[in-house]
Symmetry: none
Subunit: 219 residues, 4 copies
DNA sequence: GATGAATGAGGGTTCATTCAT
DNA sequence: GATGAATGAACCCTCATTCAT
């Protein structure tokens, strides 16, 4: 209906953004090195050369994809819940759900990209992300645990730091692994249940008034 | 007894094994695609051509490295503790420690390799590993949790599956991330403490005799 | 008289000419292959696409730049001094000065372009230029030398052809090399002195044993 | 007779040197940018990849080719004729012949490469060569001219510098242009005659008014 | 067995050229 | 006319793989 050029097409859309989306997806699925620029181009419906209008190198494309979405991803936590009127446990619940209950595929891609490919391909970014992402996140949680201890919500001998690490790392890897659920059906789990059960278990462990039973007698 | 070791001590020409060690290390550090066979060769103190005496392709080298060490790694769980005389919590403790309290660098490399590179490079292997490794492991733990519930050790409403997933995934990723502790100091944690605290928190969460305090009032 | 210049002053939209100027300059400075059309466009203050309004291909742009200025450059010699009343030496002096005492940067660019880039890029043009430019020029000079011999101005055994070649080639390369005077200060020389000294030496060599006849009386 | 491998051949020869020769030739003929590594490889009878065994980049290949032969080329002048017993004119004759009477094609290629391609491609090398090659050479000649003046061989008002420049530049360009003699027959000239006539004219110009002293007795 | 020179397919990058706006 | 996004062929460079020694 519109004049369809055979080998040439101009699109008025927001090309850079489309390219970033495509790159994010393809990189996350295949890994950075396994992905040819042709793949990205194809996924974006353009040709290889077009990418070079917007990005100088393949690596810059990776970086841009990561940076673009990272801000977005972590925008969610910024300023979250320092609301001291709520009990610590509630704030932890909210924080975790805010971070992980995200359906956007781009977030999932980003996570996979950062945990896997970026570790080798753009170590600088990866390590920065580790510091400003997961580490910071479990730091926040650990801090909430301390608050909870002060208020008597949690038992004072709980190791909030280790627990918070587990919570964050575990959820991340589980969510990434959901991408393999087709090949390994036993992997599949409802994500909301995963997140909720997991947080509740964590909180229950912190509360746990009962003394560990045969704790020191083992091993 | 000492004498019989002669034939099995690492002989200077036990090339295949040396190559696998080198490959495992270099692949894990740099990623599969980022690693040239020259790098592996150099790490093994041989030249590139030598690798082709023992392995047909680069991918076969990766496969061999994974397979060779995988048996070793998961051999640890085989036949572990179905000793019904011990309480479930104790068996869980033992199981987790057996699996994760491993100092061997090869285990760490293997873990990183399987979580990261293999996902893209040899998806078949990766998914098989997922099924026979992590999934199986948290299955065992979930099963022990069920036993514990039956015996009254754990509260009946606990979500053992989600918890076991968290435990296994979280520890894995934490251990992998320890490789970045140099670049991100806040990451570093004593691994024994991580493992122990983590298991105890998990068990405490399952036991949790005290009624959740403000549990249902939120959200 | 001033009024009539109106139509022929460089109008702001005299694009083709501006493009040729820019191309000439940029090609000469960077070489043909090292120059992107974007460079030419930028130098001309337009965008790449504009060039294609006026020239079909990059090579045609090169050709046009050469042709446009070449006429101009060699127009100077056309009809020059067959004035038989002057001694041959005088006519040689005038000829050489006419050809080489040119301050216009475009001439210098053109020379560099023809000596260097064109040799590989548009060999046809290069070789044509050789024939109609330098070769013809030294032919004229050699002819004047013959006339001078006939009149007894020059010694009969002088090799006018070789000398004329030297004169023409040498001046050309020296003038081109002046573009490198910034990087190689020892190269720099006053161009008028170069040209004059050079011609006089040439003439002196032809005259040889006899004392210079009307040496100081000319020009 | 020897097993002829279909697509694989090992040559025991001095491969790097062969590559340099081929590169020098092809670069000089087509220009640096117009030459594909495949062209060089083909000229050397190998494939592209082989070049990368010996040279890191195309530019390094160019540099190596220039450097390798440059030493060789200018080795000829080193230590030449400070023999003060000979008249300056004789020493100039010897010097010029030593420099330019060279039949080796590699010298001719090198000259063309340095005068043309290198000016844009590796400006650093080009300018260095200008300083240490041509400029130095005509400096030596100018110095000999001064000596000649002191001894009364040459007239004191001669511009030795300009003359020496002309001599060096002119011969260089003439020799390079001989490569185009096939396309422009009028260009062709016997190189020995060119060199000799040229030097004699130069010397005659310096001597000038005085009758040539030992003109025919030398060399 | 071990070596390392040689190969060639693959992919990142450049840039002349096209064409919708 | 002018623009600049889009194209794709070309080319440099990498590196898994082969094989004569």
């Amino acid at each position: 209906m519109a004049g369809k050029a055979l080998r040439w097409e101009r699109r008025p859309d927001d090309r850079p953004h489309e390219l970033l989306e495509a790159a994010l997806k393809v990189f996350a699925e295949n890994g950075y090195r396994n992905t040819r620029l042709d793949d990205v181009a194809e996924a974006a419906g353009v040709t290889k050369g077009t990418i070079y209008h917007y990005f100088d190198t393949k690596e810059e494309l990776l970086l841009s994809a990561i940076e673009h979405y990272q801000a977005l991803a972590f925008g969610r936590v910024e300023g979250v819940l320092q609301d001291v009127h709520l009990p610590a446990s509630t704030r932890i619940r909210l924080l975790v759900r805010k971070m992980f209950s995200v359906r956007a595929p781009s977030s999932r891609y980003l996570l996979a990209l950062l945990v896997r490919a970026a570790a080798h391909e753009v170590r600088r970014v990866h390590d920065t992300w580790l510091r400003d992402g997961p580490v910071k996140l479990w730091g926040l949680i650990a801090q909430l645990v301390e608050e909870g201890k002060d208020r008597g919500e949690f038992r004072p001998d709980a190791d909030g730091d280790a627990g918070a690490r587990l919570l964050v790392s575990g959820l991340m890897l589980q969510l990434i692994w959901q991408q393999h659920a087709a090949a390994v059906p036993a992997l599949a789990i409802d994500e909301d249940r995963l997140i909720d059960s997991t947080v509740e278990l964590f909180l229950a462990g912190l509360r746990s008034s009962a003394p560990p039973i045969a704790y020191s007698s083992v091993d």
